[in-house]
Symmetry: C2
Subunit: 242 residues, 2 copies
Amino acid sequence: MNKINSACALCENKNCFIQKLPSQRLSWVDAKKYTVCFPKDQNIFWENAEVNGIHFIKNGKVKVFSSGLNKKDKVVRLAGDGHIIGHRGYGAEQYPVSAATLSESTICFIDNGSLYELFMTNPVFTYTMMMFYSQELRKSEQRAKYNSQMSSKERIIAALLYAKETFGYSQTDLNAQILNVYLTRSEIASIADTTAEEVSRTLTILESEKHILKKGRNIQLLNEKKLLDLIRDYGIYDNADS
Amino acid sequence: MNKINSACALCENKNCFIQKLPSQRLSWVDAKKYTVCFPKDQNIFWENAEVNGIHFIKNGKVKVFSSGLNKKDKVVRLAGDGHIIGHRGYGAEQYPVSAATLSESTICFIDNGSLYELFMTNPVFTYTMMMFYSQELRKSEQRAKYNSQMSSKERIIAALLYAKETFGYSQTDLNAQILNVYLTRSEIASIADTTAEEVSRTLTILESEKHILKKGRNIQLLNEKKLLDLIRDYGIYDNADS
DNA sequence: AAAAAGTGATGACTAATGTCATATATTAAA
DNA sequence: TTTAATATATGACATTAGTCATCACTTTTT
C-alpha cells in the first residue's frame, strides 16, 4: 500500500475517466490524486464507511459487493482497468457497498472536494460523468430484468460472460479462451443470484455440454458465441459497452 | 394531448427538477419546453424509440416498464408529481423502457439540445442531476439486492410500500390509508418480481393477518409501520428519499 | 509430510413458488 | 339488462432451486 503517484498525462491507461479532462487540467489532478497499490484480496473501502471521494482503477481487478444480513455477500459489479469504483456512494453519506481487489491493483483516489471543483469548472467532464451514471443505471436495470426472467443456468452463463466482458481472457495462453480471473463458486453464485452448489452443478452440466472446460481453478469458454446464443433472447448485451 | 404550456416560475410543483435552475433561467426554459396533458393509460414513450429528451411530471401517475420476450412486462419504476422520466434513455440511442400513465397526467418535455445547453451553462444544475442519477443507481441496486434475498411475500409488501411512497394515500378519505393508485395484480406482481397468482394469494393472507384491507379495487394499509417492520431487516428505506 | 482450512462436487431431501385449470367477481360493452 | 371481456381468487400440481450432509480435492500452514 505504498503511495506511487505518477503523472496522469503519462499514464498508460487511456480509458481512465480522468483522461476526459482537458489536458492542461491533468497536472492539477496530479497534485490532488493519491495512487496506491493494493495487494490481492484487500478491501479498498467498506460498506457504511464515510464516502470521501471516488476511486479510479489504473490497473487490476476489483469486485464491488454488499452484505446481506443473514445471507451471504452479493457481488454487485466487477471492475477492471480504467473503471471507476465508489461512484455509487458519491453524493451519499456512506458507501452502500464494499470493494475488494481480486488481484493486485493500482488505484487512484480523488477526494470529494477536488472532484467538486472539477465538476464545477469542466462542464463537459461533468456531463460525461453524468452519462456514465445514466449508462450504469441502464445496466443495473437491465440486469434486474434478466435476473427476474432467466433460469439459474442462464444467469450463471451470463455471469461467466460478464466476467469475460470485464476482465477478458488470460494473456498467457492466448488461444485458449481462459477467463482472466479466478472467482470462487460462491462469488459466481453471488453474481448470478444463486447458490454455490447450483453453480457447481451447472458448471458440470455446461462442461458435459462442451460449452466450457474446467481447468484447475480456471474456466475456459469453449464457444463464447454459443453461450451468448443461450441467453441472447434477453437482449443483455444489446447496449453493452464497458 | 393539448399543448398547455405555462410559466415554470408560476408552476405549483416546486419539487420539479427545473426549479433547481437559477430563477432567471426559467423563462428560457418556458420557451423550450413542451407541456402536454395525457389521459389515463396512454404511452408517453416507447421502448426502443429514439430518445429526444427528458420528461418532467408536472402532476400525475406514471409507470415505467420494459417488455420481456416471452414473459410479461416488467415494471421498473413508478413516478409521480415532480419526478423525471426518460432519463434512463438520456445518453443512449433508444429508450430501454416504455412509460405509460396510470392516471391523467400533465407532463413537460425538454429536448436533448436544450438540455445540453442547460448542462453546459449551469454546473450546479448538472451536478444536481448527476447526483440524482447516482441516487437512482443506488436505489436500483438496493432493489436488486433485496429482490434476491426477500421472499415473495416480503417483495409484495415492499411493492405496496413503494406505491405508497410514490403516490401517497388517497386524498378523498384522509383517515383511511388507501393507496392513491390502482394497480392490477399483474402490475404489483411485476414490481415484486413474482406472479399475479402469488400476489392474489399473498394479499388474501395479508388481509387475514390484518395488515391490509382490500377495498374494491383499492388497497388500504392498516398498519404501515408493521408492514415496514416485516421487511426492515433489508434496510430498504434507509436511503429512501423520493 | 501431516494437519488444517478452504473449496468444490454431488446426492437426497425440502420448500418455495411458478403453472395450469377453474370458478367467481367486477367492469365495460352491446 | 344481458353479454362479453377482464380481473381476481383459489385449489391442485409440477418444477425449480435452495438446504443439508458427505466426500473428495487443493492449497496453505505448521
